[in-house]
Amino acid sequence: MLGIDDPQIWIAYVLCFLSAIACIIYGALKWNDGAEDEEVV
């Protein structure tokens, strides 16, 4: 896949992108979650 024969490598290559995309999706879905105006000590 993608010119790489060893699955142990192309899986890592694809996972890099997938995990970064997952971070984007997580951040977008939770964009307004967790807002609080708690008193800072």
Partner: protein, 527 residues
């Protein structure tokens, strides 16, 4: 990278002016101790993400680890996967949110203080502070060398002058502007790094005929692996090394696991979760942080490996040979020879930014560890007074130590300093830090036991077993007449894989046989 043009001079000048402007803003905004230590707990999520990423990724991550990928191949991409999943997602979502909340509840302004207050132990805070103050200068030393070597070649000035110049510039804005200045300048440096690395990836694939063509060409080069690497288990640049071989152990235990997991317990990174107001900022930071790290380590490792194709097409040799055996030179040589001149200038700025952003946070963390955690909280038992001034003095002292380390230590030890420091932090802090956040039953005694077991097992392994450090250190040789006490596979297993599990066991066993902390205090920590 001998390149000294008026363009570079002007670009550098503009860059430094903006850095000083941001440092000045940090100075103006610093009114209270909280501002200096945790940026007033109201940092913007984008600045948090870029600052965290830029601190995480130093010049050595791009040049050193990129060069390692040039030698070992794309197996290093597993480290990039770990960097994104563990270093960003788990760090922010699982550790970050609780750290922020508990830090605010307990009024902690540093990482050692969070640990110390959770377990109501000045010893934990003092010991952690001292550990950081003693060993972080090692790590800062190599980042300083990387940055100074760049300034030396880019501006054609003496190396010793370059070290001093870089130190004075970074120290000036860290000492005066505290963490606000550090994070603002980090964000600018992070943005520069992102743009530079994106160009690097695009240029590389374009130059080698596209993604698939570039990878295929690299795959076809597997017969060119030199004998010395093939003997260690190297099977080609797009293949994992042979399972269980020395190269496989180095790749998996030191690089992927050591650096990949060690990041969770890095004091200069953990303190950043406490700089934001709420969990929303942490969630938003994940969106920026994931792609940022992909563009840093993901690109460095891919381009490092692909440089083999470029050098083979152009010179008929692999990257290690083109760099005359020094993997640290693979990335600079590749960029110098393959990229357009304008990009070379941009990339020099990227490398300087990467060094400065990591250095500034190291200086700040070392200073607060010595000034606040060790001196004020442990020695002076929390007495108020000249906190910021003592911290500033602490920063100055540890900077001096870093500079001295940079001059005195042999190069073979310095090159290993990042991995040593990451591993030591993981062993000493990770079990205690995890317990701090997630295990109410963990006791002060359990925490102390885990910290001591982690620290001393790690130091023992570095000194007497792990060949890469033990052999050049020579302590085992002097005391016992042999380079390492154990032999075989043990010599290539990283200290983190031995010390961290032992520290976890110590934390659990000792906690279960000792009395839990006062209920009132635990309610305050976890409610």
């Amino acid at each position: 990278m001998a390149l000294s043009t008026p363009v570079l001079g002007v670009v550098m000048l503009i860059y430094l002016m903006v850095i000083f402007y941001l440092g000045w803003i940090g100075y103006k905004k610093t009114e209270r101790s909280d501002d200096y230590m945790v940026a007033g707990r109201k940092i913007n999520p984008y600045i948090l993400a870029l600052s965290y990423g830029a601190t995480f990724i130093s010049t050595s991550a791009i040049i050193g680890f990129g060069g390692a990928a040039g030698a070992l191949g794309m197996g290093l991409l597993w480290l990039a996967v770990m960097n994104i999943i563990v270093g960003i997602f788990i760090a922010f979502v699982v550790f970050g949110s609780r750290t922020r909340r508990m830090g605010a509840k307990l009024g902690a302004v540093t990482f050692p203080e969070l640990l110390g207050r959770r377990f109501q132990s000045r010893f934990i805070q003092g010991f952690s502070g001292a550990l950081i103050g003693i060993f972080m200068p090692l790590y800062a030393g190599i980042v300083l060398i990387g940055g100074a070597r760049f300034v030396e070649t880019a501006l054609s000035i003496d190396y010793d002058v370059a070290v001093l110049l870089l130190t004075v510039i970074v120290a000036a804005y860290v000492i005066t502007g505290g963490l606000i200045a550090v994070m603002y300048t980090d964000a600018l440096q992070g943005a520069l790094m992102f743009v530079g690395m994106a160009f690097l990836l695009a240029f590389t694939y374009a130059k080698l005929g596209g993604v698939k063509a570039a990878h295929s060409a690299l795959t076809a080069m597997d017969t060119l692996v030199p004998e010395s690497l093939a003997g260690g288990g190297h099977l080609g640049w797009t293949s994992m090394p042979a399972f269980g071989s020395p190269i496989w152990w180095t790749l998996i235990s030191t690089l992927v696991l050591g650096v990949g997991i060690g990041v969770l317990a890095q004091p200069q990174l953990a303190v950043r979760y406490m700089t934001v107001k709420d969990d929303r900022a942490l969630n938003r930071a994940v969106l920026v942080g994931g792609p940022f790290i992909l563009m840093m380590t993901g690109v460095a490792f891919t381009v490092g490996a692909l440089s083999n194709v470029y050098f083979f097409n152009k010179l008929g040799v692999i990257s290690v040979v083109a760099a005359k055996g020094n993997t640290d030179l693979i990335m600079p040589q590749y960029i110098n020879s393959a990229m357009p001149e304008l990009f070379v200038i941009l990339f020099m700025l990227v490398l300087l930014a990467a060094a400065m952003s990591t250095l500034s946070s190291q200086f700040h963390t070392m200073g607060t560890a010595i000034g606040h955690d060790f001196y004020r909280q442990y020695i002076k038992k929390g007495e108020l007074g000249q906190t910021i001034n003592i911290t500033r003095a602490g920063i100055a002292c540890t900077i001096l130590a870093s500079v001295i380390f940079a001059y005195v230590l042999p190069i073979s030890i310095i090159a290993r300093a990042t991995a040593i420091f990451f591993g030591l932090c993981a062993a000493a802090f990770l079990p205690m830090y995890t317990g701090t956040l997630f295990w109410k039953r963990m006791t002060r005694e359990g925490a102390i036991a885990s910290m001591l077991v982690g620290t001393f097992t790690s130091l023992f392994w570095i000194t007497f077993v792990h060949a890469k450090e033990a052999t050049p250190l020579g302590i085992s040789q002097a005391l016992f007449g042999k380079a390492t006490l154990l032999t075989g596979t043990w010599n290539v297993i990283d200290p983190i894989l031995v010390a961290t599990p032992l520290a976890f066991v110590a934390a659990i066993v000792v906690s279960l046989v000792t009395k839990p902390g006062p209920k009132e205090h635990l309610d305050k920590c976890y409610k």
